[in-house]
């Protein structure tokens, strides 16, 4: 039997730890159950890759993302966990460590670890800087070694405080993949000097992400929000019950022209997306008994603060298809081209699609939502995606210079309440010039970016004196000339190996949601 063969394959996998095997076995078991009841049209749309349930499972028994109110938890203790209110920093860190193991998510590892400066500050009075540094550093190492998922997220800022600064110091020093880190920036509150520290950290370790605090805060009530996982913004003491995403490329392929896309194809598939969202939520909220958990009973989460994420991806391909642009290649990046990310008209069509999606999502009621609505999300892709670009991003390898990149996408950001994952690729020379990172970040937020994420390490483009060049070209060039100079290659290989070393222990389940045999 196919299923048994698959299960057996997982149990014998060379690279997975026992815990990782258990996770994949559980996923397989869940997938062997009958799917939640949906119409034939929805099934067909899923089978043909137009609508995707992110492999969350056939019988959703836990929400995708959970954002407990950690401050409340520390203040009141927990009856279920038999913990009294935390009295000092040691107790607070210990209590958090315990609760993290009881916060579910799609990956079984908590995606949200809290607004840690705000949560821990009440316990830091009378603690000297060095003790705080030592305690938080151990905590940081513990998180990376016991909850090794790159999507697990800590929030800090926008205020200037000792916990925030200490975490930034530790994060730059340890350069761990986990936890992920978002720094909230509010131009009215955050001193420039603190943002500069955060920008310097990005140059060191591509973290933190900088969130546009006022923009996020205005999208939610006074109870607040958190940034979790891959830059999703969600209500605090709530979360996302599910994420269903729509492949805009496939929709564009099914439209006769631009007006058919807006008038018929897009609304039609949005409606099917809603059907799937409601079916999945009904199971979670009505059948699974998740909301009888102690997290709800003790008031750490509220059922009414969970919303479905309405995800989209493949914007770049959709625009290029609708405009009849030829296939995009990397050679287009340095010259004017009609493509998405490079041309005003293409970018504007993209903005128009985002606006249309925003109108649909803001006006369509759902059975279980935040104020009765889903939240629009620009989805960052999973490892199975082929020939389709995540969210509203510009296809990898064809991005224009960082400023043109930001300008092309800024207009989208206002619409994606539950997050938009754009990654700016910046050449490595920025590492010795953090002031440039700071200025770029300020410029992006000023132009309406919800979240600023810069990728320095894996960039193939680099500025050498007057010109941008490709590292891969250099590698070829060096290979050709290797009889005279071989030393460079060894160093490069060492760098590559170091990157590879990290992969087995730290995983990103969300990015690779189902088992695929490794060779």
């Amino acid at each position: 039997m196919a299923i048994q063969e698959r299960l057996s394959q997982i149990t014998r996998d060379l690279n997975l730890s026992p815990k990782q095997k258990s996770n994949f076995l559980a996923l397989e078991a869940d997938s062997s159950l009958p799917y939640v009841a949906v119409s034939e049209d929805v099934t067909q749309a899923m089978d043909s890759g137009i609508i995707c349930d992110m492999f969350e499972g056939h019988a959703p028994f836990k929400p995708r993302y959970v954002l407990p109110d950690y401050a409340k938890y520390l203040k009141q203790g927990s009856e279920y966990l038999e913990l009294s209110p935390a009295q000092d920093l040691d107790e607070a860190l210990n209590a958090l460590t315990i609760l993290y193991h009881h916060v579910p998510s799609v990956t079984n590892i908590p995606v949200y670890l809290g607004q840690l400066d705000e949560v821990l500050l009440p316990f830091c009075q009378g603690i000297d800087t060095e003790s705080l540094y030592r305690k938080l550093k151990l905590f940081w190492i513990m998180l990376d070694r016991t909850l090794p998922d790159a999507f697990m997220h800590v929030n800090i800022g926008p205020t200037d405080n000792i916990v925030c600064r200490t975490i930034l110091r530790i994060d730059a020093e340890l350069k761990q993949i986990a936890p992920n880190l978002t720094f909230m920036y509010d131009p009215q509150v955050t001193p420039d000097e603190l943002l500069q520290v955060a920008a310097s950290n990005i140059c060191e370790c591509s973290k933190p992400h900088i969130a546009n605090y006022p923009m996020h805060a205005n999208s939610y009530d006074e109870k607040g929000f958190g940034i979790v996982s891959c830059y999703n913004s969600l209500p605090l003491a709530g979360g996302a019950n599910t994420l269903v995403r729509l492949n805009l490329k496939e929709i564009a392929l099914r439209a006769n022209d631009i007006s058919d896309f807006f008038d018929n194809t897009l609304p039609q598939y949005c409606q099917l997306t809603y059907e799937l969202i409601n079916a999945r939520c009904q199971y979670l909220h009505q059948e699974s008994n998740f909301f009888s958990s102690f997290l709800v009973k003790e008031g750490l989460i509220e059922e009414s603060r969970f919303a479905p994420m309405f995800g989209i991806y493949g914007m770049a391909e959709a625009v290029n298809i609708l405009q009849g642009n030829p296939e995009l290649t990397e050679s287009h990046t340095e010259k004017p081209s009609p493509h998405y990310g490079h041309h005003q008209a293409a970018n504007e069509l993209g903005h128009k699609i985002s606006k249309a999606l925003d109108t649909i999502v803001k006006s369509t009621p759902v059975d279980y939502g935040y104020n009765g609505r889903a939240l629009l999300h620009s989805q960052g892709g999973i490892s199975l995606d082929k020939d389709v670009t995540p969210g509203v991003r510009i296809p990898y390898g064809t991005e224009p210079n960082p400023i043109a990149h930001i300008k092309a996408l800024a207009e989208h950001h206002q619409y994606y309440t539950s997050g938009i994952s754009d990654i700016l690729t910046i050449d490595e020379t920025v590492k010795s010039n953090p002031q440039a990172m700071f200025q770029l970040c300020k410029g992006a937020l000023n132009l309406g970016f919800r979240e600023f994420t810069a990728n320095v390490a894996s960039n193939d483009l680099v500025r050498v004196t007057g010109y941008m060049i490709k590292l891969s070209d250099i590698a070829r060039f060096k290979e050709a000339g290797s009889r005279t100079n071989t030393t460079g290659l060894g160093a490069e290989a060492a760098i590559n190996t170091k990157i590879l070393e990290r992969q087995p222990r730290v995983v990103a389940h969300e990015n690779a949601p189902s088992y695929a045999k490794s060779n």
Binding site: K335, P402, I403, Q435, A436, V462, V464, T465, Y467, A491
Partner: protein, 303 residues
């Protein structure tokens, strides 16, 4: 009086430069993030130049025109003067035109007025800390530089941007005196220590370079001195004592940037020269540090 100012402003705005390239976001051309304008044309002829097509001015001989696979180049004759026209839309940047050019030039330059550049700068101003004019040799188009920087500094919205020049140092002292009031700093290449070596590498003397370094240092406008280390060719290692004592007497704030010679973009004899390894840069850096040179900036990549 008002009339006079308006007229001068108009003259400034209409000044035009021949531009090889504009990079809207650079991290290696001065403090912070900078928009860099590379002007066409250089008065040095460095054997090791990695952008040799920025050296000469195009004389519209037309040799490149038939070689363009995209037909992006055309030769037109206007008033008995021929001119190569470059169609940016058709160009795929294959650079065949550069390889066939009998001079060290390019048909792919653009003409920008001060006014056009101001518009371009305004579109980027929230993302940058300043403007750097480089080349080729920036100072060959000095009146344009002065006009651009003067206009920026008299515009309320652009006055906060720092204005810098990246130069080979060959400009006369008189020229530097004219531009000094309009720049916050300059980055100067010191190509070698000995006159003979300088002449061998660049084809020119280095007297003016040292005069420029002295003046800029005195005026507090020397941001960075750049030394390109070419093993066996440049003489910073063989003249280490003299080089170090010269650099050590410069103001403490001056950045001493060491660059490692690589083959990328280089044509001709210099391809036979050995490229510079990380170890060789560290050796030079250590020798300088031991002799009291601080504020050294090393390359973060060896490409």
């Amino acid at each position: 009086m008002k009339m006079h100012q308006a007229t001068r402003s108009r003259i400034n705005l209409d000044r035009v430069a021949t531009v090889n390239q504009i990079i809207p976001f650079s991290c290696v051309d001065g403090p912070g993030s900078r928009l860099v304008i590379f002007l066409q044309g250089c008065n040095f002829n460095c054997k090791n130049c990695h952008n040799p097509h920025t050296i000469d001015w195009c004389d519209s001989c037309g040799d490149c025109v038939p070689t363009c696979p995209e037909k992006a180049l055309t030769l037109i004759t206007d008033d008995n003067k021929s001119q190569v026209i470059w169609d940016q839309q058709l160009c795929t940047q294959c650079d065949i035109c550069l390889s066939v050019c009998p001079k060290q030039s390019t048909p792919k330059t653009l003409r920008y007025s001060v006014e056009e550049l101001l518009t371009l700068i305004r579109a980027q101003m929230h993302f940058i800390n300043g403007i750097t004019i480089s080349g080729g040799e920036a100072s060959l188009q000095l009146p344009f530089i002065i006009a651009l920087f003067r206009e920026m500094q008299s515009s309320k919205d652009l006055a906060h941007l720092s204005c810098m020049i990246d130069s080979n140092g060959s400009l006369s002292l008189n020229g530097w005196q004219q531009v000094l009031p309009f720049i916050q700093g300059a980055m100067i290449d010191l190509k070698s220590w000995q006159q003979d070596t300088h002449r061998y590498i660049t084809g020119r003397d280095n007297h003016r370079v040292f005069s420029a370094l002295k003046l800029l240092a005195e005026q507090g406008k020397l941001y960075e001195v750049r030394l390109l280390h070419i093993p066996e060719i440049s003489d910073f290692d063989s003249e280490i004592d003299a080089v170090a004592s010269y650099l050590a007497q410069l103001p403490a704030a001056v950045r001493i940037k060491l660059n490692a010679f690589q083959h990328h973009g280089v044509t001709g004899d210099a391809l036979m020269w050995p490229s510079c390894t990380e170890a060789q840069i560290h050796q030079l850096a250590n020798a300088l540090t031991q002799r009291g040179v601080n504020n050294l900036i090393l390359p973060n990549l060896y490409l």
